[in-house]
Amino acid sequence: MLSKSKIFFKGTTAMLPHMLSVVPFGIITGAIGIEFGFDPLLVYATSLIIFGGASQIIFMQLLSGGASTLVAVTSVGVINSRHLLYGAVLSEYLEKLSFTKKLIISYFIVDQGFAESNKYIKKNKKETNLHYHVLGGGITLWIFWQISTICGIILGSFIPDELGLKFAIPLTFLAVVVNELKKKDHVLVMLVSGFVSLILFDAPFRSYIILSPIIALITALLILRFRK
């Protein structure tokens, strides 16, 4: 059995490679908010209160373009609805926690944290205190995200555009799914999700981000049914 702090630390270190995309993305998010002409405090508040990279940028983009609050909030809700799926997966390992702890840990459920914790949990099912991995990853990401958006707000986007660091985002997510490529059924589900996302990319409210996973999960359901 590993101690709580060891598992927390494993969650922390699992996040470090992802900083290659998180830090530049955070800087860009802060800088873009200022470029749109928003109050620095409000720009920072999106990182603290919403705490969700892509959704913050789109939120500010929409409002600076004159969209209504309703449209902006709906878009954020649609984009971030994928966290329902992360929660559903992780809930198996968070079940025994008190209600208050569940409420706290939920705030720290983010894409890369979920991806890494899910991998770790699958390999170490016998460990107790697995939620410390989720916390370790989530809190690490949170700290780097807050600092990098503040840097972007104060310093502007000092990372040259030519580097094309936006490309680091698909790469970090590629890095967390490559280990599933050896399973044919998973490959099929991935291809469905990927192609559907290209087809539905222009759907309203960026809904491709949740519609593609739903269609891919229906495919998974059909695969499971077909097998039996």
Binding site: G52, F59, L171, G194
Partner: protein
């Protein structure tokens, strides 16, 4: 951008994070659903990866010669054999920079 719009957006986001963890009892999920949940990473992340590789800033398909496609392809091979997150990301970025800064100059 107002405080109200930020708080509302934060609320819906937190709700998405918290609902399945704190409000829904797992006994309500059937076995089939639990099995399907194994596919969540495979179902969610390609919807972030594909547009990032195959679409440009304006949302239209990139050309077959786009550096991102080859860099992502290399990263995929490196990731598959190394099983290393950092090797996947770094190989993708370095090969991308190599193509745009040296090959296309």
């Amino acid at each position: 951008m107002t405080w109200l719009s930020i708080v509302m957006s934060g609320f819906v986001t937190y709700l998405a994070r918290m609902t399945m963890v704190a409000l829904i009892n797992r006994k309500l999920l059937g076995n089939r659903i639990k099995e399907v949940l194994n596919y969540v990473p495979a179902a969610v992340f390609p919807a972030i990866i594909f547009p990032g590789v195959f679409l440009n800033d304006f949302g239209s398909l990139v050309e077959i010669t786009d550096p991102k496609i080859y860099a992502a392809g290399l990263a995929l091979v490196v990731g598959f054999y190394s099983r290393s997150v950092i090797a996947t990301i770094v190989s993708g970025l370095l090969s991308y920079w190599f193509i745009i800064f040296f090959l296309l100059r």
